[in-house]
Amino acid sequence: MSEPKLEGIELKPGFKGMAEDTGSDQTMFKGVHWGKAMMWIFLLSDTFIFSCFLIAYMKGRGSTPVEWPNPSEVFALDAFGVPVPLLLIAIMTFVLITSSGTMALAVKYGYEKNRKMCGWLVLATAIGGLTFVGMQAFEWSKLIHEGVRPWENPFGAPQFGSFFFMITGFHGTHVSIGVIFLFIYAYKVFAGHYDQQKRGWFTSMKGNYVEIEILGLYWHFVDLVWVFIFAFFYLW
C-alpha cells in the first residue's frame, strides 16, 4: 500500500479544490490512502443495507393489523423495584458512544507513533464493544425469557419480535466483527507491527498506522447506525 507523496502539488480548499482534484490525473482524493477510500465507499454501501432494514421496519410496522407494543414498557428494567424505561439501552448506548471516543484517541496516538497509548486505547475500545455485545445478549435473553420470539410475542404484533431480533442481530454482528478486529489490531499495535511495517498475515501488505484509522471509521459507523436504531426502535 502506498504512502501518498504530494510534494509540488498545491491543494486548494473548497469547491474549487474539489473540482480541480476531480479533473486531475492519478487520484481523485489527494493524499487519501487506498484502504481509507475503500472503507468510506464500503460504509456507503453498508448504509444502504441498514437503510433497507429500517425502511422495511417502518413499512412492516405500518402494515401490520395488530397493535405495536409500547417500547418503553417492553424495554424497561427494574431498578430497586421501580421499572425504569430504557435503562439498559441507555447504558448500552453510553458505552458504545464512549468507545467511539477511545477509538478517536487511539487514531490520534497512532499517528503520533505512540505505540503504548494507541494499543491501550484500541484495547479499551474492544472492551467497550465487548461490553455492548454482552449487554445485548442479556437484553435478548431477557426478552426471550419473557416469551418474545421472531415469530410471535406476548405484547402485540409478531413483527415486533421479527424486526427486533433481525435488526439488532445484524447490528450486533457488525459490532462483534469490529470487536474481533479491535483485539487483533490491539495485538498488532503492542507487538509493534505498524512501527516495523510488518507484512500482514493474509494480504502480505506492509503494516501502517493508517489501518487503525480505517478500523476507526468502521467503528464510528457502527456507533452511528446504533443511534438510528435507537431512535427508530426504542424511542418511536
Binding site: Q26, M28, A37, M38, A56, G60, P65
Partner: protein, 612 residues
C-alpha cells in the same frame, strides 16, 4: 523472501527534455505531466501453481477465472432455455418434463443469466481484466480481496448448482422470487431450493462487494500519470458506473434475501400476509408481500443497467477502434452513462404497475422511465455518428457492434411501450415482456460480449480468433435471435401469457402452434451456434494466427504493454505516462491513422490534433 516483492520502484519522472524531439516551435514543457503522487504498487508475486493460477492475486488471471466460471453457468442457463423451448414448441416431447420442472427451469434460467452470467462476466470478467490495464495500474488496488471476491463467487455458484440436487429441487417461483408463494408448499423447491437460492445470492453480493470496492478505488485512486477521468476509455466509465450502481443496489437484494430466509426458516412474517390454505389459516400473518417487490426491484432495475452500462462502454470503444474515428461526443457519452446510472434508481416501480399501486406512483415512475430514454437515445445517435463516414473495417467485431445497435434500438423501443402504464397493463405478463427484455438486456449485451471477445482475445491469448468461424457465429446468432424474439412480440400482442407450462386447449394453443415450433427451432439453432465460439477458441489457442502487439492499431493503454499478453504487474519497469484521450484516430496530418495515449504532444505537434 525479499524477492517476492518488487519493493517501491518509484516511478521515474520523465522530464520533458528526454522525450522525443518534436518539430520547430515546440516549447520545452509541452509534454509536462504532473509528477507521481503515489509510490509504485507493492505486489505479491505467486510462485507455485496454486498461487499463480488458483488462489491468484493477479487481476488478469482473476478476470479469466470469472470469465470461465460465468461462461460455465451461462451454458447451464442455455441448456435450461433449450428444455423450456422444447416444452413450449413441442409439448410433451420431453417425457420427464412436468409443470414443476418447467417452473424450476424458468427460475434458474432467469437468475443464472442475469446475475451469475451477465453481471459476473461484465464486472468480474471484463472489469478485472481491463480496468487496471486501461487506467495504467499495475493491478487492482487490493489484490488479496480481489482473489477472495472470485472465490466467494465460486462458492455462490456451487451453492446455486447444489440446489439442483436437494430434495424438491431448485426454487420454481420465477426469477423475481415473489412471496408469499415462493416459500409456501405447492411451489416447487419451496424448501431447500429457495434457501439455497437466498444463500447463494447473499454470497454473491458479499463477493461482489469485495470486487466492486477494488474496481472503484482502482479507477479513483490508482490511475497512472496523465490519466484524468475524462481521458479514460468509455469501457472503464461504463464498468465504473455500473459498479457504483451495484454497490448501492445489491444491499436491497441482500436484505430481501435475508428476510425471505428468515420467513422460511424461523417462521417470521416479513413478507407473509394472513393466508388461508384449504380453509385453514396458516401461522403466517401481518406481513407485506409488496415490501419484497419494492426491495427486489430497487435492486432489479439498477441491475438492468449494471449489465447495460458496461456494454455501452465497451461498444463505444469497439466502434471507435474499428471505424477508425474518434467517438462522437465523448463527454456526452460519459454524462449519459452517469445520468442513466443516477436515473436508474428512480424507476424501479415500473415493474410493479399491476401489483396495486397508487396511480400517482404509476404516473411518477412512468415519467422517470421515459426520461431515461433521453440519455439512452443520445448514446445510440452518437454510435451512429461515430460510424458515419468512418473508415469501417467490416470484421467480426464490427458485425457484433452493428448487431448490438440494431438489437438495442429494437428492445429500447418496446421498452417505451412497457414504460407507459396504460400500455403496460394489457401487455403485462405476456410474451411481449419476454421479447422486450430478452432483446434489450439478453441479446444486446450478449452481442457486446461476443464483440469484446473477438476484440480482446488477441490481447489475452496473443492470437486472432478465426474470422470465418466468427462470421458464421455472428450471422447464425443474429438472424436466429431475431427469429426467436420477433415472433414473440406478436405472441404478446395476441395475449399469450408468459410462464405457462402449456396452453392446453385454450384458443392460444391452436393459433400459435406453428409459431411456437418455429421459435423453438430457432432457439435450438442459436444455442448450438454458441458452441462455434467455444470451438473457435480451442482451435485458435492451438493454431490461431499470432497477433503481435497492438493488432487492431488501437490507442488505449491495454494494447501498449511491453509484453503481449501482459505479465503480472502489467508494465515492466516503468508505468506508462498518458498525454491524451484514447480516441485520436485518423487525425489529419498524422503519420499513422492512430495516436496512442502515450504519444507525447511534441511528437505530433505538426498535426491537427486537439488537446484533450
Amino acid at each position: 523472501m525479499s524477492e517476492d516483492y518488487n519493493d517501491n520502484k518509484t516511478i521515474q519522472a520523465q522530464s520533458s527534455e528526454t522525450m522525443g524531439g518534436g518539430g520547430a516551435g515546440v516549447t520545452p514543457d509541452m509534454d509536462y505531466v504532473r509528477p507521481a503522487e503515489i509510490a509504485d504498487q507493492d505486489l505479491y508475486h505467486g510462485h507455485s501453481f496454486i498461487t499463480k493460477w488458483i488462489f491468484c492475486q493477479d487481476a488478469k488471471v482473476i478476470g479469466v477465472q470469472y470469465f470461465l466460471l460465468a461462461t460455465f453457468t451461462g451454458v447451464i442457463g442455455l441448456i435450461l432455455s433449450w428444455l423450456m423451448r422444447l416444452q413450449l414448441g413441442f409439448p410433451g416431447a420431453a417425457g420427464f418434463m412436468t409443470a414443476e420442472h418447467y417452473y424450476q427451469f424458468v427460475t434458474m434460467h432467469g437468475m443464472i443469466m442475469v446475475v451469475y452470467f451477465l453481471t459476473a462476466l461484465f464486472l468480474g470478467g471484463f472489469g478485472n481484466y481491463l480496468i487496471p490495464l486501461m487506467v495504467g495500474a499495475r493491478d487492482m488496488v487490493f489484490p488479496y480481496l480481489n482473489m477472495v471476491s472470485f472465490w466467494s463467487f465460486f462458492v455462490a455458484v456451487a451453492v446455486l448448482m447444489a440446489s439442483f440436487f436437494v430434495p424438491g429441487g431448485p426454487t420454481g417461483a420465477g426469477w423475481t422470487l415473489y412471496p408469499p408463494q415462493t416459500i409456501l408448499e405447492g411451489t416447487p423447491g419451496s424448501g431447500a431450493g429457495i434457501l439455497l437460492m437466498c444463500l447463494s445470492l447473499i454470497l454473491f453480493v458479499a463477493g461482489f462487494t469485495m470486487g466492486g470496492l477494488n474496481y472503484l478505488i482502482t479507477v479513483l485512486q490508482a490511475r497512472t500519470r496523465g490519466m484524468t477521468l475524462m481521458r479514460m476509455p468509455l469501457t472503464v466509465w461504463g464498468i465504473f458506473t455500473a459498479t457504483v450502481l451495484a454497490m448501492l443496489a445489491f444491499p436491497a437484494l441482500l436484505v430481501g434475501a435475508l428476510m425471505m430466509s428468515l420467513d422460511k426458516v424461523l417462521g417470521t412474517s416479513f413478507f407473509m400476509p394472513t393466508i388461508l390454505k384449504a380453509g385453514e389459516v396458516l401461522e403466517y400473518g401481518g406481513g407485506s408481500p409488496i415490501l419484497f417487490q419494492h426491495l427486489f426491484w430497487f435492486f432489479g432495475h439498477p441491475e438492468v443497467y449494471i449489465v447495460a452500462l458496461p456494454a455501452f462502454g465497451i461498444i463505444s470503444d469497439l466502434i471507435s477502434v474499428h471505424a477508425r474515428k474518434n467517438i462522437f461526443g465523448y463527454r456526452m457519452m460519459v454524462w449519459a452513462i452517469v445520468g442513466i446510472g443516477a436515473l436508474s434508481f428512480f424507476v424501479w416501480a415500473h415493474h410493479m404497475y399491476v401489483s396495486g399501486m397508487n396511480p400517482w406512483f404509476g404516473f411518477f415512475f412512468a415519467t422517470t422511465t421515459l426520461i431515461i430514454a433521453v440519455p439512452t437515445a443520445m448514446k445510440v445517435y452518437n454510435w451512429i455518428l461515430t460510424l458515419w463516414r468512418g473508415n469501417i473495417r467490416m470484421n467480426t467485431v464490427m458485425l457484433w457492434c452493428l448487431g448490438f445497435i440494431v438489437t438495442f434500438v429494437n428492445g429500447g423501443i418496446t421498452g417505451i411501450f412497457l414504460g407507459n402504464v396504460s400500455v403496460d397493463v394489457p401487455l403485462s405478463d405476456t410474451y411481449f415482456v419476454v421479447a422486450h427484455f430478452h432483446m434489450v438486456m439478453g441479446i444486446a449485451p450478449l452481442m457486446v460480449i461476443m464483440g469484446a471477445i473477438y476484440h480482446w482475445f488477441p490481447l489475452v491469448a496473443g492470437r486472432f480468433l478465426s474470422e470465418k468461424l466468427g462470421k458464421w457465429h455472428f450471422w447464425l446468432t443474429f438472424l436466429g435471435a431475431y427469429s426467436i424474439y420477433f415472433p414473440m412480440h406478436y405472441l404478446g400482442f395476441i395475449g399469450v401469457p408468459r410462464r405457462y407450462f402449456e396452453m392446453y386447449d385454450s384458443p392460444y394453443m391452436t393459433s400459435t402452434v406453428g409459431m411456437n415450433e418455429f421459435i423453438s427451432l430457432a432457439a435450438f439453432l442459436v444455442g448450438a451456434a454458441q458452441f462455434i465460439l467455444i470451438f473457435n477458441i480451442i482451435k485458435t489457442l492451438k493454431t490461431g494466427k499470432p497477433a503481435g502487439k497492438n493488432p487492431w492499431k488501437a490507442n488505449s493503454l491495454e494494447w501498449l504493454t511491453p509484453t503481449v499478453p501482459p505479465e503480472h504487474g502489467n508494465w515492466g519497469d516503468r508505468l506508462p505516462v498518458v498525454h491524451r484521450w484514447p480516441y485520436d484516430f485518423s487525425v489529419p496530418g498524422a503519420k499513422d491513422d492512430y495516436i496512442t495515449q502515450t504519444t507525447p504532444p511534441s511528437e505530433v505537434s505538426n498535426t491537427g490534433v486537439e488537446k484533450t
